[in-house]
């Protein structure tokens, strides 16, 4: 967890004696070019049907289908455009995005563009459900500086967890014209989730009144089978010495990933709202539900060797329902070093970009948001009640306090914020966030500016079972 913000240490980590990028470093092949079902595949990108410049227009349909998740087994799932995860929405800063969404599910749904700064009507919140057979056009424009990794998923009232577990989630990648990281880095998208299956491959949702159902309600539906892009324990090939850029999304209902590769470090370069100002070297990375991270991973093994990306034990639970095997590390994917010759060194800039600080002296309101078991400020959500009202244009400081003995990942719709401190300890680096974990009995303070987009916005716990049982509140910006 040592921050390493200088060019030199990053270079040292990357093992490069050179100060210059190798001129011949081109995009590396994605491992052996053979059909290998256990190789990590990225979801396809949504096709742009627009001919208008700087406009991305796509079609997205949610429908029931059958797919194989476990090898040799077929599962009844919900999927976007027949894929699990859904296809990736790839766009650039400044693009206008138009999504023609069709709900071919037998149930109502919405599409929430998680982390995006967009008009209230396009947020896909529970206020705008789309009935079975219904359609909706979501439109929004990507702001300069918003390049990063986001995701989309359903957000209907009380049913979000079920629909995401059934397979409805996909990535959004917003690219910057001036991305400071070398374009030669192989990029990987890792959408992390987990699921639970019956022996025949059917997705397993316990009776809510069974002890398993009650534990799910308490802990969130944390499941034994860990998936990366919908696959069990896939393999990523990496060339010795190669540096890959991983975009990681935690799309699981409840599992908090504490990622580590035994014996080596990561360089974290970004989070929810895009790149950091400076890269940070990390031994392990905690990704709570709905958070994203961007990592640089170096192929530091010998040709032909393998290692694993693991999730280490993390005690987010109340003692009453802590799983018996919570303290065991779990493998997430296999990292296989190719037999190609070592990749040439890569230079990572010590400064990635400048993030303008939200001026805390302009804050006109300080709010306390209390998280407890299933409650925000002592209440469960009521769609007809506004819990927090903010003035359009106002800067506010929010103190989010978790008063119970279970972690609650907190997500605010529509507005990226900047964390100021945790338990009074100031944050070292400025970052754009839309989701933060608030560990048991801890407090996080952030500053947020409601610069535009009046409307009703959700704030909630992103443990989906908690959210669905009402651990959500409504912010009105007006």
């Amino acid at each position: 967890m040592t921050p390493s913000a200088t060019l030199l240490t990053v270079l040292a980590l990357l093992g490069s004696p050179a100060m210059l990028a190798a001129p011949d470093a081109r995009e590396l092949p994605e491992g052996p070019s053979r059909p290998d079902s256990d190789i990590l595949l990225s979801p396809p990108s949504l096709a742009n049907i627009s001919r208008v410049p700087r406009t991305v227009e796509v079609k997205l349909t949610a429908a029931e289908t059958k797919l194989s998740i476990l090898p040799g087994k077929i599962s009844d799932v919900f999927a976007y455009n027949g894929k699990l995860p859904g296809p990736t929405l790839e766009v650039r800063e400044g693009d206008r995005v138009i999504v023609h969404f069709t709900n071919d599910l037998p149930v109502e749904t919405t599409v929430h563009w998680h982390g995006m700064h967009l008009p209230y009507e396009s947020d896909g919140s529970p206020f705008h459900p789309i009935p079975p057979g219904g359609k909706r056009v979501y439109t929004f424009t990507l702001r300069p500086g918003s390049a990063g990794t986001y995701w989309y998923h359903p957000h209907p009232d009380h049913k979000t967890g079920y629909q995401i577990a059934k397979g409805l989630y996909g990535a959004i990648i917003v690219r910057a014209p001036d991305d400071p990281l070398p374009a030669t880095l192989t990029e990987k998208l890792l959408i992390l989730s987990d699921n639970r299956f019956q022996p025949d491959g059917a997705l397993d949702f316990p009776d809510p009144h069974s002890s398993e159902g009650l534990t799910d309600r308490e802990n969130g539906r944390e499941c034994a089978v860990i998936l990366v892009n919908g696959r069990v324990m896939p393999t990523i090939d990496i060339r010795p010495g190669e540096v890959q850029r991983w975009r990681v999304i935690n799309a699981s209902a409840a599992r908090i990933f504490r990622l580590a590769i035994p014996g080596q470090t990561f360089v974290q370069v970004g989070t929810d709202g895009g790149l950091f100002e400076k890269p940070v070297e990390m031994n392990e990375i905690l990704i709570s539900n709905s958070e994203r991270v961007e990592l640089l991973v170096r192929g530091s093994g010998k040709p032909g060797e393998t290692t694993v990306l693991q999730t280490l034990p993390y005690d987010r639970y109340v003692p009453q329902t802590r799983p018996v095997d919570w303290n065991k590390p779990r493998d997430v994917l296999k990292l296989r070093y190719t037999t190609q010759p070592p990749a040439p060194p890569v230079v990572i800039p010590a400064m990635l970009r400048s993030i303008p600080a939200i001026d805390t002296t302009k804050a006109t309101v300080r709010r306390n948001i209390t998280l407890s078991a299933g409650l925000i400020n002592g209440k469960t959500m009521d769609m007809s009640r506004v819990d927090v009202t903010a003035k359009l244009g106002a800067t506010e400081i929010w103190e989010v306090e978790n008063i119970v003995g279970m972690d609650h990942p907190f997500h605010l719709h529509g507005f990226q914020f900047q964390l100021l401190d945790r338990n009074g300890v100031p944050e070292k680096d400025r970052r754009w966030k839309d989701s933060i974990n608030v560990p048991k009995h801890e407090t996080a303070r952030f500053v947020v500016r409601f610069d535009n987009h009046p409307g009703l916005w959700m704030l909630h716990c992103h443990i989906l079972d908690h959210e669905d049982h009402g651990m959500m509140a409504i912010l009105e910006v007006k």
Partner: protein, 396 residues
């Protein structure tokens, strides 16, 4: 109750575990202070008053059947070694409180029972005289007192009014059917617990006036705050939550400070919370309604919506479908039998009459059902309690 003995067993190494499911309190200073039995109606009122006090003060948690007068063995005392309370090397055993002539309280005079509740003096080993001082060797107080075992929370009960103590006695003697149940004598150290009952350890009698250094005056409705204070003292809340029934004590109501305050309930460790109105570590952030809901329904205030609870059945009305109950041994199943106004008074005192103290208590452990299976009607009886008289009781 089963858990009671297991928790006491866990605390056995600590000699001064005063209370926990302790029992007691006054129910209402408003009832008529009948001290004579001039009329049968007056006696019936006194018996009912005593019953309400006994039911809402957890006497039954040790002496049999918690707050459920309909339960088999109500107040009939120790039945098996399961109910031994070891205090250090000494086995102590809850007595038979029914009016059985051979094995219960019939052998003792009202005055002897009164002296037990007010002064902690064992009726079988104390002269039947009016005790005129609370200091051993002074007045009629024995120079070498033979005290009840420290599991018996007389140190809190003594702060009840004379009328309340007499009402308890009237209920035990006249409102209960005799049950023959011989309880083995409790063991005791050679000083018969005198060293546990020094003025320094148990605080002054009568209790120090409000406000002590641990308390605040002038906030909220003072009459209500003072009423809540009297209840908190006589219910011995601080017996577990810190300091004992003595608002002068260090750590009064501020929660567990070290592992000796911990309860072991089967495989689980449970810990008395900080009841002072500290915003971060205490109850400062909870509304009086949430505190009321904790005492009446056993619902953890931080994890229960701040609403009026309109049912006692999970999932019905406003009662949470998956209730988060407070850990055993918090005796809410008996506290809930207090009248509304008493519970509101306790909430008012905790919120307004106590100084906030920062003391972070680690979370309690517990089973995945958050103790729901310990709080079934079969185990804790009904609310309100079965009407008088049950099969264990008799009306004149």
């Amino acid at each position: 109750m089963r858990w009671l003995s297991s928790s006491w067993r866990a605390c056995g190494s600590s000699m001064v575990v005063v209370s926990f499911a302790a029992c007691m309190g006054q129910t209402g200073g408003s009832a008529p202070a009948t001290t004579t039995m001039a009329s049968s109606q007056g006696q019936t009122e006194q018996v009912l008053r005593g019953r309400a006090i006994v039911v809402s003060n957890a006497c039954g948690d040790c002496h049999g059947q918690g707050g459920n007068p309909a339960g088999p063995g109500w107040l009939a005392g120790w039945k098996s070694p399961q109910q031994d309370f070891p205090i250090g090397p000494f086995m102590t055993r809850p007595r038979n409180l029914t009016p059985d002539s051979a094995t219960g309280i019939t052998r003792y005079s009202d005055r002897q029972i009164f002296n037990a509740l007010r002064f902690g003096l064992r009726p079988s080993a104390t002269p039947d005289v009016e005790i005129t001082s609370s200091v051993p060797g002074q007045g009629n107080h024995p120079a070498k007192p033979n005290y009840l075992a420290p599991t018996m929370p007389w140190v809190a009960w003594r702060h009840m009014s004379d009328a309340d103590l007499r009402a308890i006695i009237a209920y035990l003697r006249h409102g209960l059917k005799p049950v023959s149940n011989k309880v083995e004598d409790s063991q005791a150290p050679p000083d018969f617990w005198a060293s546990e009952n020094t003025a320094e350890k148990i605080g002054p009698y009568p209790v120090a006036p409000h406000p002590t250094a641990n308390e605040v005056a002038g906030q909220g409705d003072q009459a209500k705050v003072l009423r809540g204070r009297a209840l908190v003292i006589t219910k011995d809340c601080a017996g577990c939550h810190g300091g004992g029934p003595n608002p002068l004590a260090k750590g009064y109501l501020a929660g567990m400070t070290d592992s000796t305050g911990e309860f072991k309930i089967g495989p689980f460790k449970t810990r008395p919370r900080n009841l002072t109105p500290d915003n971060t570590t205490g109850i400062g952030r909870f509304s009086e309604r949430q505190i009321f809901n904790a005492l009446r329904f056993g619902l953890r205030p931080g994890e229960t919506p701040d609403v009026e609870i309109t049912s006692t059945t999970p999932g019905q009305g406003n009662f949470p479908a998956v209730p988060k109950y407070m850990a055993v041994p918090m005796p809410w199943p008996t506290w809930r039998h207090m009248p509304d106004e008493e519970l509101w008074a306790i909430a008012a005192y905790l919120k307004n009459g106590v100084k906030p103290v920062s003391n972070k208590v680690a979370d309690s452990e517990g089973p995945p059902d958050f103790w729901a299976s310990e709080y079934t009607v079969a185990k804790i009886g009904t609310h309100p309690p079965a009407p008088f008289p049950t099969t264990n009781e008799r009306a004149r």
